[in-house]
Symmetry: C2
Subunit: 186 residues, 2 copies
């Protein structure tokens, strides 16, 4: 699925423009390569066509994983992009990835006149907002055990496709604790 | 400032439509009245013209304050609105408030055809996203003392206008702890 078909399916059923209101350029990233590094200002929006990426953050010298993105989602260092500040997250290809890349400057130009670009920007911002709310709530209310149980039922693709040490970084527990949690659940 | 002048200033400098793409109806709420209650599905978007509102949440029977909104901002129980699920927050007028109310159904209809409505929705979603990111980061990295110090310098209007017991609910500390923090800073 490319951006045009994503838009037709998820943003606007009536979308039938032949041309996107911005250019999107396919790019490949090998496993473990960095799409956006700490301290750079984000200049791109990525649409993931295949592979998995992870968003890392460093809190008090502890590396945590904030999020994983799976195919057919948009991602980038969004705070850096919106505020033009150096990124405090690092985005890494967890395996070989194919993405479509949109330049931020092209998107901003499209926002000036294109209804569809604004619809897309609005709906994707809403989705990212909802992800953040869920994460905030989970952090404030749920133990790592409960959160692992929810991953099992709600996002089994994370459990199946992502190495266990990275899942422990995502849940914010040491690998030993996660082993204990997995034993107690199974 | 009403919604039209807000749009002209913050969303689109060239905005000169005489009519908004949706209706906005002025409404007054007396101090302590509830704009959106727990468990209802949010049906409105509010634009705050005067007064302050607070967003409350109940975690494990502890009432916390998630956010304060000041004049010339849009607010609502946004997750409830976007997902059509019962609200898990309560929005309360901290003093007498005047708001413009937009019905969600009207906004959805405007989203179908209006560039401006989508621009507004996109930019406001981006802002709410940035607020959430800041809050998440603050919760994960900063002590109540640091967060209080930042309120003093970055959002003095909160310190000046909001009762101290509510600030302690916002910072997630007991009132005694906040007194101690204030003494140590002054």
């Amino acid at each position: 699925m490319d951006i045009s078909s994503y838009i037709k399916t998820h943003i606007d059923l009536n979308y039938n423009e032949k041309q996107l209101p911005f250019t999107a350029k396919e790019k490949r990233f090998a496993k473990n390569s960095i799409l956006t590094d700490y301290e750079v200002i984000e200049e791109n929006i990525f649409f993931l066509k295949s592979g998995i990426v992870q968003v890392e953050i460093n809190y008090n010298d502890v590396e945590r994983i904030l999020d994983f993105f799976f195919p057919y989602t948009f991602f980038c260092s969004y705070t850096s992009l919106l505020k033009s500040v150096p990124s405090d997250v690092k985005i890494v290809a967890l395996n070989n990835c194919v993405v479509d890349v949109i330049k931020h400057t092209d998107l901003l130009a499209a926002y000036e006149h294109s209804l569809m670009a604004n619809k897309l920007g609005r709906i994707e911002s809403e989705k990212l907002y909802l992800r953040k709310v869920k994460h905030e709530k989970d952090l404030m209310t749920k133990s790592a055990e409960v959160r692992y149980g929810e991953l099992l039922t709600e996002q089994p693709e994370i459990i199946k496709q992502i190495p266990i040490n990275r899942i422990s970084q995502y849940l914010g527990v040491r690998p030993e604790s996660l082993s204990r949690i997995r034993k107690s659940i199974s």
